[in-house]
Amino acid sequence: MTGAVKRFRVMALTAGVMSLLLWFVDLPVAYLFNNEDWKAKVAWIPFVHGWVYAVYLLTALQFSVKARWELRRVIWLALAGTLPVASFIAERKVVKTYS
């Protein structure tokens, strides 16, 4: 269980940071500013976010199966990786309950 919590925490924090970068750096650059140089410089963000979220999903699933969470909470945990801050909240809740 400790291993699953650790893995989930690492991925929740990483996914949270990537979500913040995606929502508040990549999307404004892509849709608000017409600057090709900036777009090229932030091109890595959606790419890394996509793969980080995929790994986050796996760790969230592994943790919730081990913790025997109910279905609704599993779905909430899975979606938390897509919204900025939500995965930080999920990480805090998990730490509070299982550490």
Binding site: A30, A43, P46, F47, G50, W51, Y53, A54, L57, L58, L61, V65, R68, E70, L71, V74, A78
Partner: protein, 238 residues
């Protein structure tokens, strides 16, 4: 009681199946987008020296195959309309107004038309010998239609290089995309003027190839999770 349970299980099974199919379809859609993006990026780099006839690579009223972008085509016909295409960017990033003509393709049945970028708008008076009855032989590169307007659509001005903008102006079946002329010739000989080279086409699909592939992984992972969830619930209740 038992039949109710069976019906409940059937509905749950159908729900799971629908969700799985939706996620698999979304993954497939994302995979197609990734493939389109890759094809478009590859097409932008294609250097194919062969000169094709327009009919080999495109048909009127049919979307241009992205694999044929940047290929060189030859076509003959008559210019039936002329437009100014403002604020067009060439391969060096220089923005200028271009002269664009609507070519009625020779011998087409039904009559069809293709947009041809002839050169700079500033040079439009350089070939006064070209009249509507003058047959022109064109060699140029095939380009996909543009998606974003550079100007307002007013008479004589085309807001973007896209045949859908001029539907109704001429009674022709229009080709998708446009040709950037490398050379034009009449019976009297070649028409001499500066030519433009279009900037590399921008893909309609936003994002990057491996980004789309990551989303494919996520959608299919979701499908796998949904398949697993009924077993997970059973384990909880037991």
């Amino acid at each position: 009681m038992k039949s109710q349970l069976i019906i409940k299980r059937l509905f749950q099974g159908a729900g799971v199946l629908i969700l799985v199919l939706v996620f698999v379809a979304l993954g497939k859609w994302q995979l197609d987008r990734a493939a389109d993006l890759k094809t478009m990026q590859a097409a932008a780099k294609v250097i194919d020296q062969k000169v094709y006839s327009l009919g080999e690579l495109a048909q009127p009223s049919v979307a241009l195959d992205s694999r044929n972008v940047n290929k060189t085509v030859s076509v003959s016909g008559f210019y039936v309309a002329n437009f100014k295409a403002p604020f067009q960017k060439d391969i060096d990033g220089k923005v200028s107004d271009w002269e664009v003509a609507l070519l009625q393709v020779d011998g087409s049945d039904p009559l069809s038309g293709m947009l041809v970028v002839r050169g700079l708008w500033a040079d439009r008076l350089k070939n006064p010998e070209v009249a509507m009855s003058t047959k022109i032989e064109i060699v140029g590169t095939l380009q996909p239609h543009q998606n974003d307007d550079r100007a307002d659509n007013v008479p004589g001005v085309i807001s973007r290089l896209d045949s859908s903008v001029i539907v109704g102006i001429a009674d022709l079946e229009l080709y998708d995309g446009f040709i950037v002329a490398k050379s034009e010739a009449t019976r009297e000989g070649k028409l001499l003027r500066d030519r433009v080279i279009a900037a590399a086409p921008v893909s309609k699909v936003a994002g990057y190839y491996w980004q789309h592939i990551s989303y494919v992984a996520i959608w299919w992972l979701m499908a796998a999770i949904v398949l697993y969830l009924p077993f997970y619930r059973r384990r909880i209740t037991s």
